[in-house]
């Protein structure tokens, strides 16, 4: 992985598969592979993928996301998860025992929820679930959103970056794969974390970022 030179590709650019299979972000025309998005070419496990540099969140089964309730139905809620589609959460997929029509007593419009993507079907309909340990309604706190493509950088290698942010500022942080981040703690500390995340976003491409974030957190 490290010795691959990362090259930026643009839509319509020919991709040299080098004997690998075409993965995501590639389309084939007359036997030739082309990139369909603006992204970075990576080769992993025999597949060439184009990792997008921008764009909306693409829901994927098993992702933990943070959503905002935008609508309430008698037996489900509708959540905005920063994807092209709104995602419903059914009352049966929650840890609570809910009577028909009582959904509003548990989650209201504007509430923030940590949920998991249960399924995505071929017409891109997304269903959410909260039936897993750790998935819950997020009360209080502060929500910010970043580009979903920057999420891996904010988490860091094996969670190193996020762990440092939590430890050094004494805050609770949840990061959704959809780029929505929930932070709770003292106001000053929240602001510190937001500042650090914006810095990561801006400098995601640089080396030695963890050290600079550490410096930033120590200084402010």
């Amino acid at each position: 992985m490290e010795n691959n030179i990362r090259e930026i590709v643009l839509p319509g650019e020919i991709i040299d598969l080098q004997g690998n299979k075409p993965g995501t972000g590639i389309y084939i025309e007359n036997g030739i592979a082309f990139s369909e998005i603006l992204g970075v070419k990576t080769i992993r496990a025999g597949y060439v993928n184009i990792i997008p540099l921008s764009g909306r969140y693409h829901p994927q089964k098993g992702d933990k996301v943070i959503g905002k309730v935008v609508d309430i139905m008698p037996s489900n809620w509708v959540l905005d998860i920063n994807a092209p589609y709104l995602a419903p959460l059914h009352a049966n997929e929650t840890p609570w025992k809910i009577e028909f029509g009582d959904t509003g007593k548990y989650l209201n419009i504007g509430d923030t929820v940590l949920a998991k993507i249960m399924s995505v079907n071929e017409v891109k309909q997304v269903w959410l679930t909260m039936k897993e340990q750790g998935l819950r309604k997020l009360e209080g706190g502060h929500v910010i959103s970043v580009s979903p493509t920057k999420v891996p950088r904010i988490i860091g290698k094996e969670g190193s970056m996020i762990k440092m942010l939590k430890d050094m500022t004494n805050t609770k942080i949840y990061i959704g794969q959809n780029g929505v981040i929930w932070i709770d703690g003292e106001t000053d500390n929240i602001l510190k974390v937001v500042g650090a995340i914006r810095m990561i976003e801006r400098e995601a491409h640089t080396i030695g970022l963890t050290d600079r974030i550490k410096e930033y957190l120590n200084k402010s």
Binding site: M1, R6, E7, I8, L10, P11, G12, G25, Y27, E29, F34, E36, I37, L38, G39, V40, T42, I51, P52, L53, S54, G55, R56, P84, Y85, L86, V123, K124, P152, R153, I155, K157, A204, H205, T206, I207
Partner: protein, 248 residues
């Protein structure tokens, strides 16, 4: 307004046009990608005296619901000229011309975007002409295609184009305002550079068969140059990321 009676000399004896260009020269073009914070993707283009900004939102939920398509996304482009974009104040709001241009630009962009990847959504493209100086539909389309790529929307290729026209019985590339107003014909062309398929082709004025062929060739050559500028603009925004670390 082509073919207005005039006594302006649009091409001098040495073959130079009023702004000093030769028949096959374009105006200077500057493209910048990602200029807006709120939009999913955006681009700004300066093409001669044209100044145009394009913003892309989506794919997102379609409103009004009845236009949504269960099999593909709906791409809606909106071309709008600012009231201050032309010499005399332009009455704000959509008019016959901008409705037409919105349609031809939407159709051109729809032919490169993989709409079937986002069923039931809409991709909204806003093209705002801040300063107009002839050739805004192609300049707007160019900016819109850069903005779409910047928004991370999957597409076959970018779109590039250029207008050609006829002044003083000669075919020239990329008309400016005076040439457009007092010339004989104006023909905007946009292509998919990789395959050279035409996605937008209009003509206002009179040109014969051989003139159209000559013009088309000029326009396609120019479009290929503009394609390079578009790619450069997108790379400039992200070039720093190239050496970055994308490991999870």
């Amino acid at each position: 307004m082509s073919g207005m009676k005039n006594d302006i000399k649009l091409i001098d004896e040495s073959g130079r046009r009023i702004d000093g260009r030769l028949y096959n020269e374009m105006r200077p073009i500057k493209i910048e990608a990602g200029v807006l914070e709120r939009a999913d993707g955006s681009a700004y283009i300066e093409w001669g005296n044209n100044k145009i900004i394009a913003a892309v939102f989506g794919p997102r939920e379609t409103y009004p619901k009845h236009i949504q398509d269960p099999s593909r996304a709906v791409l809606r482009a909106r071309y709008n000229m600012a009231a201050f974009s032309v010499d005399e104040r332009k009455k704000p709001g959509p008019d016959r011309r901008s409705v037409e241009l919105s349609l031809v630009i939407s159709n051109a962009l729809s032919s490169v975007v993989f709409l079937e990847q986002y069923p039931r959504t809409s991709i909204d493209v806003f093209i705002e002409v801040l300063q107009a100086d002839a050739g805004t539909r192609i300049a707007g389309l160019t900016a819109a295609s850069v903005a779409l790529a910047d928004a991370g929307i999957p597409m076959k290729d970018l779109i590039a184009g250029c207008a050609v026209g006829k002044i003083e019985n000669r075919i020239v590339l990329d008309l400016n305002k005076e040439e457009d107003n007092y010339g004989q014909a104006d023909m905007p062309v946009a292509i998919i550079p990789r395959t050279q398929e035409i996605v937008l082709f209009q003509m206002d004025g009179d040109m014969d068969d051989s003139e159209i062929k000559e013009g088309l060739k000029l326009a396609i050559d120019a479009a290929m140059k503009i394609y390079e500028l578009e790619k450069q603009a997108l790379r400039n925004k992200y070039v720093k990321l190239a050496g970055g670390d994308f490991d999870e």
